[in-house]
Amino acid sequence: MKETISHNKEKVISIENLSKSFGKINVLNEVNLEVYKGENVVVLGRSGSGKSVLIKIISGLIKKDSGHVAVLGKEMESLDSKQLQELRLHIGFSFQGSALYDGMSVRENLEFPLIRNKRNLSKKELTESVEQVLHDVGLLQTIDQMPSELSGGQKKRIGIARTLILKPEIMLYDEPTGGIDPITCVELNNLINKVQEQYNTSSIIITHDLTCAKTTGNRIAMLIDGKIERQGNFDEVFASEDPRIRAFYNYNFITRS
């Protein structure tokens, strides 16, 4: 279990009373959550509880209904599209399904955000950056492969590398260990911790995997029925008597053994 980060540091993400519905379905209902600088916050919740919706709102992919979301001190609502684009360069988003561009090789996937955002890089600088992040995620050998030739775990890591290449201050991980074998899970968890240290990121990590939560999170937040029900370190959260939290804990270990 990781230690908690002191909360007198600056907030990088602050969410207040955030609500979001799709039609009649109320997905998020007055969510409050803060992420402090250098902190990994794990959001745990069942499938369909709105975890992906939450981080998509943070990155501006989905519009909220009400409440406040501020990222790096900027209120999302007040940004025009240019400022939003600028802000997004500081936010890395690792998608649930990796979302690699499947028409491009690994190298082109990694070059894409660089070429698009820093127009005057030389060929050599490009290659250096690409090789550096690939080395950091431990997949230098895949540089000339196509995404369809990679395994699920490799795709996840390339997806993370593609966001790291812009040196983001915030990382949003959507189920980094979803659908992946336990050993690769450990590798991914280690990668998340390495990114936190090496790139000085603050992160939100979405998962329903308790091992991932325990090894990567400085703080855990349980998202239940559209609300953050309990926050704290791993033991604090699961000391709860709330049957929904107990069930989450128990089932996780039943399915693992």
Binding site: K56, S59, G60, L61, Q85, E86, R88, L89, I91, F93, F95, Q96, G97, A99, L100, Y101, D102, G103, F112, P113, R116, N117, R162, T163, L166
Partner: protein
């Protein structure tokens, strides 16, 4: 919970005629918004020159072989089929002008458009559809690239500008097919054939065909992009986007053909 689901389904079944009409207008409004956004983003900087050129090349390259083949065959077959009725009047010397009028006014634009709808339209629908359902479009957006400009504007511009080019090419290849057949049967020389073929063609004919092709190209591009961009429900949605792009754009092409022919006849 189970009860909720059942009730939902009943709600779905109970979709009345009125609801369907409302849905129809809602999607018309979506299309309108999509086209309006296209116009706004296509004519403001920053432009995606490189990607547009790449897409133009893609459109041309992908359909060149099949357009060559169908254009050529159309030229030959149309000549063969027209000969008997003309020879009844001893008027086979009219073949070149008859064929060129048919090809340039109607056949070349239509063949090109229908083939492009099948080949390029379905491709755009499937490509954007799969990028959409696998969150690649979202990934582009969060990494600081405007996906609408990069994916949609470039593709729509490419189909719009490439269709006239392909149409001219199809017309030329069709005429070559016709020439081979005419040369074989009537021993007409190439210069005579070309001369006869173009005496009855007016500037308006060519202009109308180019204009038609621009319209068809835009239709194919925007339909494919719209349906792909809105695709949902996983892999099923991708197939559906590709399929409905072909159906919808072919349908629209025939409607446009009818309208444009009326207008041109009025101007003639």
């Amino acid at each position: 919970m189970a009860k909720d689901i059942r009730m939902d389904q009943q709600d779905g079944q109970a979709k009345t005629f009125g609801d369907r009409i409302m849905d129809f207008f809602a999607s018309l409004f979506d299309i309108y918004k999509f086209i309006a956004r296209f116009c706004k983003e296509a004519f403001t900087a920053p432009f995606e020159f490189r990607e547009t050129i790449r897409q133009c090349f893609n459109v041309g390259y992908k359909s060149l072989a099949i357009i060559t083949l169908t254009g050529f065959i159309t030229g030959i077959v149309f000549t063969k089929q027209s000969r008997p009725s003309l020879s009844e009047f001893g008027a086979t010397s009219w073949l070149p002008s008859l064929i060129s009028i048919a090809l340039i006014r109607a056949l070349a634009p239509l063949i090109t458009a229908l083939i492009a709808a099948g080949k390029i339209g379905s491709n755009i629908g499937a490509e954007l559809g799969s990028m959409n359902v696998t969150e690649q479009i979202d990934a582009m957006e969060v990494s600081g690239t405007n996906p609408f400009r990069f994916l949609v504007v470039s593709r729509v511009l490419a189909t719009t500008f490439m269709l006239p080019v392909l149409m001219v090419y199809a017309g030329f290849i069709g005429l070559m097919g016709a020439f081979l057949n005419v040369h074989q049967n009537e021993l007409t020389s190439f210069t005579t054939f070309i001369h006869d073929a173009f005496t009855r063609i007016s500037f308006l004919d060519i202009f109308a065909s180019v204009f038609k092709s621009l319209a068809y190209g835009f239709t194919i591009g925007i339909t494919g992009c719209f349906l792909g961009y809105k695709a949902s429900q996983g892999t099923v949605g991708v197939g559906r986007a590709a399929n409905s792009t072909v159906v919808a754009s072919m349908f629209l092409i025939f409607i446009e053909e009818m309208v444009i022919v009326q207008i041109v006849n009025y101007m003639r």
